[in-house]
Every structure is written in C-alpha cells, then in structure tokens.
Amino acid sequence: MLAAFAHPVFDSQRSFRELLQAMARPAAPRALPVLPPAPAPIAPAAMAILLTLCDATTTVWLQQPEQEAVRHLQFHTGLKRVDKPQDADFALVTDPFSMPPLHAFARGDLRYPDRSASLIMQVSAFRTEGQARFAGPGIRTSETLAIDGLPGDFWQQRTALAPQLPLGIDVYFVAGQQVVGLPRTTRLLEG
C-alpha cells in the first residue's frame, strides 16, 4: 500500500483552498499544491482531491474499482463506495471515453440542490487557446479553455442539463498537476 498526504491536516487544507478557488474561478487551470502517491488507475491530482474532500460520511463511485485503489482509498479516507452512479456524492471518472451518461449521476432535488454529484474527471490536457469559451458567475467576460481527452458528446450532454438549474452536476477536471473547476452555472459559449 502507498502513503497518503505527508502532513494530512496542512496538505488537505491547502488543497481545499485551491479547490474552492477552482470552483470560484471556473475554467481557469490551477496547480494543486500537493500531489500524494496514487495507485493506478487514479492520477495523483485526483487522489489529492479525494483525500481532501472524502471521509466516512461521503459516498464515492469509482469508474474502475481496482482492488488496490479501493483498498488504498478506504484505508486513508474511510469513504463509502457505491455501485450505482446515482447514489454517489463524488464520482471518479478515470476513463472519460467509457463513462456513463451525465444524467446517470445525482443532480440533487429542488429542496436540496446540493445533494448532487461532484465529478472528478481525469483528462489528458488543458489548453488555454482554441474556440471553446466559457462564461458565467466567477468569470469576468469569458474564459478560453480547451480540454483534451473528453468524449465528443460530453458538451452536448452537459448543455442538455443546463435548463434544470439549480439542479446539476459540478465537475473537477484534472490533468497532470492541474485542476479546473466547472460548476453547473458555467456555460459553454457557442462559436
């Protein structure tokens, strides 16, 4: 088995601060301050998020529940693993090309929109150039960002959920050491 954060309290506090900031300033890549060791197929940046946000009171769905990874997560966080994406507070998507459709995850209900899933998606890279522009709360005019390693219909699926606000799904994308937050309020601008 592998170790987790070297300084569990300080490292998770620093990571939490970055994650807050990533959600407050959507579509802008930020570097995570600490990358803990992680067993395959979990990326170190995704592991940092899981170690920061998950404990015995959160349910987590893993797309590829490898035995070693499950053992590692349960030892270090005590999280509850669920088999159905619908039941998860957090979902770890290690291979976006074979992920279930977005509407399979919890979007909360109208009384408690916060009871929705947060997705942690491992993608291949971020580029701050290209055609894709985002707008919404936390973005002054628009933010340009291209995310590599997503299935072709991902943005269509996400746009289809937009009319359901305040229900929806929040996503953390990770690539290398970087994290991008994409809350449900951020819109992808056309063209």
């Binding site: 088995m1 592998l2 170790a3 987790a4 070297a6 569990p8 030892f75 270090h76």
Partner: protein, 148 residues
C-alpha cells in the same frame, strides 16, 4: 495469520499498546528497523468517545473522551497498525513497527523473546502491584449484634 505459538496478533497488539513506552523503546533498540519502511499513516493524535454501561448491563452512555494516537507502517509485505492511549507518538510508531516485524516469520521469534516476553512480564507485574495495593486498602464491615 497466527504464527505465534503463544500470542495471536490481537493479543500482541494489545500488549504493545499497553506497554510502558520507555520499556518498549529500550527493548526495540536491539532491533534495526527494516530498510524498506513506509509510514502509511504518520502518528496522529485524536480523541475517541468511550461508552459504557453501568454494571455491564443497561443502556449505553457516553463515559468520556480519551486521547489516542494511531499509526500505520509498511515493512516489506507486512503492514503494522497501532492505537495507543495518550499522545506519545513515539510509542505509537514503535508499536506499529513491532506489529509489522512480528508478522515476519524470520523476526517473529527473536522479537517474541526480547520484546514481547519482557513487556508481558512487566505488565503482569504492574497489574499485580496495583491489585495488591487495592487489596491492602480493603475495608471489612462487621455488624455487631446488639445485646438485648
């Protein structure tokens, strides 16, 4: 998993946790820690809520909080865990290390001889002393029959 002719793993873990930290450190001094150590969970101190029942029956109630320190270490293929009372991190580290080394067949016997046995005797001695002290303060109550 029980490789010991005398003590099973839960028993030696319990013994290590209840041992005197100084005695444990002195006993472990003779053993070089394995080269491939990974501290999976560095020693960390926290609180546990103790619950009890009066007389061992009746409903549970919160008795009070207790400070405990836990630690986990991997040595080779073996993972050692320790939960000890108090906030002595060195005690938790040594107990976890001893637990990992005791699971190793080659180190099991020497550790049993030079660490576990002396600690067990010391613990028995402390218990014996405590029970003697308690016995010495025992008060017998007599009822004197009134001569009427």
């Amino acid at each position: 998993m029980d490789t010991s002719p005398h003590l099973a793993r839960p028993q030696w873990m319990s013994l290590l946790a209840q041992s005197d930290p100084a005695e444990l450190a002195a006993a472990m001094d003779a053993f070089a820690p394995p080269a491939d150590l990974t501290w999976l969970r560095p020693a960390q101190t926290g609180l546990y809520m103790l619950r009890g029942r009066i007389g061992g029956t009746g409903p549970q109630f919160n008795f009070g909080e207790i400070t405990a320190t836990r630690c986990s270490v991997q040595a080779g293929d073996h993972i050692g865990h320790a939960w000890v009372r108090g906030s002595n991190t060195r005690h938790a580290e040594l107990a976890a290390l001893a637990d990992a080394m005791l699971q190793d067949d080659q180190q099991h016997v020497p550790l049993c001889l030079h660490v576990i046995e002396p600690l067990r005797r010391a613990l028995d001695r402390r218990r014996e002393e405590a029970s003697r002290k308690a016995a010495a303060s025992k008060v017998e109550f007599f009822t004197v029959v009134r001569g009427e």
